[in-house]
Symmetry: C2
Subunit: 426 residues, 2 copies
């Protein structure tokens, strides 16, 4: 049964909702050794780890054009159409994120500006096994492609017969991935970070993975950039008495089926809704294929919090800063401007969270564990970087020369001052 609590000012939210974190401590040494080994031995180490962990003896790492063609030939045609539809929606939304260079013209021919350049080479990790999701491929590759990255390199572990799931290859091709390699785990993160004979070194690595992958990303961070280390997935639903308990319960469970550590939280002004949702959870849990996972999640991480007002509910939500926020209220647009911290916001009664996982358009890679207080959904911004530029004419420099010299001397940096004064010496 889910735990229900009444909100009061004295409630210690942080304690009550103590969020779980994945534990990485056990894999530290293993991952470190794999990184070192791949750095030293390159492809040779990759083949060995793939044999060891993925139980397949590969001759080449790169996926061939023939294999991609075969994936298109064999994929369920209905799924292919859905992937294309999803791709187009994701592309349309992310294209709005593209930013332009700007230039500021000032007096005396002085000009300043900001230039956007893509990160030239990026790596995309895609999990294999039961978490092999074509939606992951689309959500990570599409913004990189729109940003203009020159080389988008995907790595994913092969199945034991040495192949990759057709839906992953199809999604990769549609999204514009340039090259695909059959390698997973910490060894693939090492390959992308250092480069091997087959796999090019990249500047940034994105995409979700198991604890070995997450730990490897943590370790190579600095050498290359990474997107984030995601915690367990979360949904917070703010609901008033206009919400349907059957739908609310189904939405909470769609989150709970991800992981035993996933958190599903309902904050509502309606005691009646709270009771009905609790009851519905019990009914619907029994109907789930992934009942065991979802039940542990609901019973340990799930909460229903009853508040007196919607403003209290929003205050709780802003404090929790959830990855996914559903506004299951009659007037969602009225609440939108009050939301300060949330990854993605699902508005009204007809926008269940899975819409965003697959095909509405916005990214499904979102800040977890309260990091929405300071970080953002994955976007085109994650695949570009900016350079500023400054141009001064002789007259422009002359006008400000005394100011630069004054400032530099006040900071004790006299060689800074001299770089200006030298230009006006006779």
């Amino acid at each position: 049964m889910i735990k229900t609590i009444e909100y009061s000012e004295n409630l210690n939210l942080e304690k009550e909702l103590a969020r779980s974190q994945f534990s990485y401590d056990d894999v530290n040494e293993t991952v470190e050794n794999i990184l070192k080994d791949v750095k030293k031995r390159g492809d040779k180490a990759l083949f060995e780890y793939t044999k060891k962990f993925d139980k397949v003896d590969l001759k080449t790492l790169e996926v061939s054009e023939e294999e991609i063609q075969k994936a298109f030939d064999t994929i369920d045609k209905e799924l292919l159409e859905v992937i294309k539809y999803s791709h187009d929606n994701i592309k349309l939304f992310h294209e709005k994120q593209v930013r332009n260079n700007f230039i500021v013209k000032k007096e005396n021919g002085v000009s300043l500006g900001q230039i956007i350049n893509p990160i030239e080479k990026v790596g995309l990790y895609v999990p294999g096994g039961t978490a092999a999701y074509p939606s992951t491929v689309l959500m990570n590759a599409v913004p990189a492609k729109i940003a203009g990255c020159k080389e988008i390199i995907m790595v994913t572990p092969p199945t034991s017969d040495g192949t990759i799931l057709p839906s992953l290859l199809v999604a990769a091709k549609i999204a514009g991935v340039d090259r695909i390699f059959k390698v997973g785990g910490a060894q693939s993160i090492a390959a992308l970070s250092y480069g091997t004979e087959s796999i090019p070194k990249v500047y940034k690595i994105v995409g979700p993975g198991n604890i070995y992958v997450a730990m490897a990303k943590k370790m190579v961070y600095g050498e290359v950039s990474i997107d984030m280390i995601a915690g367990p997935s979360e949904v917070l639903i703010i609901a008033d008495d206009s919400a349907n308990p059957v739908h609310v319960a189904a939405d909470l469970l769609s989150q709970a089926e991800h992981d035993k550590l996933a958190a599903s939280i309902l904050v509502t002004t309606s005691k009646e809704l709270a009771e009905n949702v609790a009851e519905q959870l019990e009914i619907q849990l029994k109907e789930l294929e992934r009942e065991e996972i979802a039940r542990v999640s609901i019973e340990t991480q799930g909460r229903i919090i009853v508040t007196k007002t919607i403003d209290e509910a929003i205050k709780i939500s802003n404090e929790i800063a959830p990855e996914h926020l559903e506004l299951a209220v009659s007037n969602p647009f009225e609440l939108l401007t009050k939301i300060k911290n949330a990854g993605s916001i699902f508005m009204g009664h007809n926008t269940p969270e899975p819409l965003g996982d697959y095909l509405a358009g916005p990214n499904h890679t979102l800040p977890t564990s309260g990091t929405a207080k300071f970080s953002s959904p994955l976007s085109v911004d994650d695949f570009i970087k900016k350079s500023s530029f400054i141009y001064y004419s002789k007259e422009g420099l002359e006008e400000v020369k005394d100011k630069v010299i004054k400032f530099a001397e006040s900071e004790g940096l006299t060689a800074h001052a001299r770089s200006v004064s030298k230009r006006f010496e006779k």
Copy 2:
């Protein structure tokens, strides 16, 4: 004497220019203990560390309005005017970085959007002692203020008489810092990360610092966000035969005076310029107040690389991805679009790098150590975060329901599928 090399395809740039890094290994344990202690004992620990490290026994940590007023009364009036001028230029440039929310309207009343919110609480570290720079205050606080951060909290170590340099207080007030506390080192980073009786917990910490501060920022990263851990400062100058060797040498030295590990690199198509700059460096080094630091930097980290063509010079620069890049050529705007990786670009013969340090407008907090391949100058973007939102009408959901169900089921996430199908059950 600076080392001069001729470029060839076989030159191993990475080896030749092996960049120095600050070493943090020695301070690990010290910093960890300070963090734990401040987390546990709050203000009490802060007072003790301030007594120990800054040699002053404070009664209160917060800078009072009277102290700020006194700073305005005592500051050099000419410097005050320069700080104001610099502030206005920085503000003008960074205001161009402000981004708008967007909304995408689709069929059936479906709409999607991206909302920008400021990071509510940010902390700004400002070094004390010989590196107490009002320009640091401006460059970090102005973009935070423009982003709309509600609480901008500055921490900086007091001098041994318990005061803060007037120029820092004046710059903070002009830039819109909300509160200033007299505390520095790892203890101040702990205070901003965990909060104490006096100092509010923030969500992001920015600003440069010594190795204790840098290590503390590394350690609290995850709990809060941080800007970056900066390596030694660098300049790369691309020059053709139109460049003046006196000016080029002065610019290289303005970088070299920062730190013995600072790197000053000239890449030029002109052998004659290379020789003249090497000679000028020797002449000008002797004239510097910070000769000792600059000489070690030039002799160990400095290089002159002679290339056959400007394109080779650009290739080298893109590979190095310098923090500061000067284009000391006759046609700098022609080269600008070829620059892929650089923090800030200084164009032409009248734009010495110190212009950007102080008052041109663009930020002086820039990616070092080659990280310009994947990261950007500090900007308003560093003080905001985005949320996406999705609104579907009943008709909109009905239109896509089979697609969501198909996608979810293909990924084995049936509770995801049910969150949609439940809404259409009779």
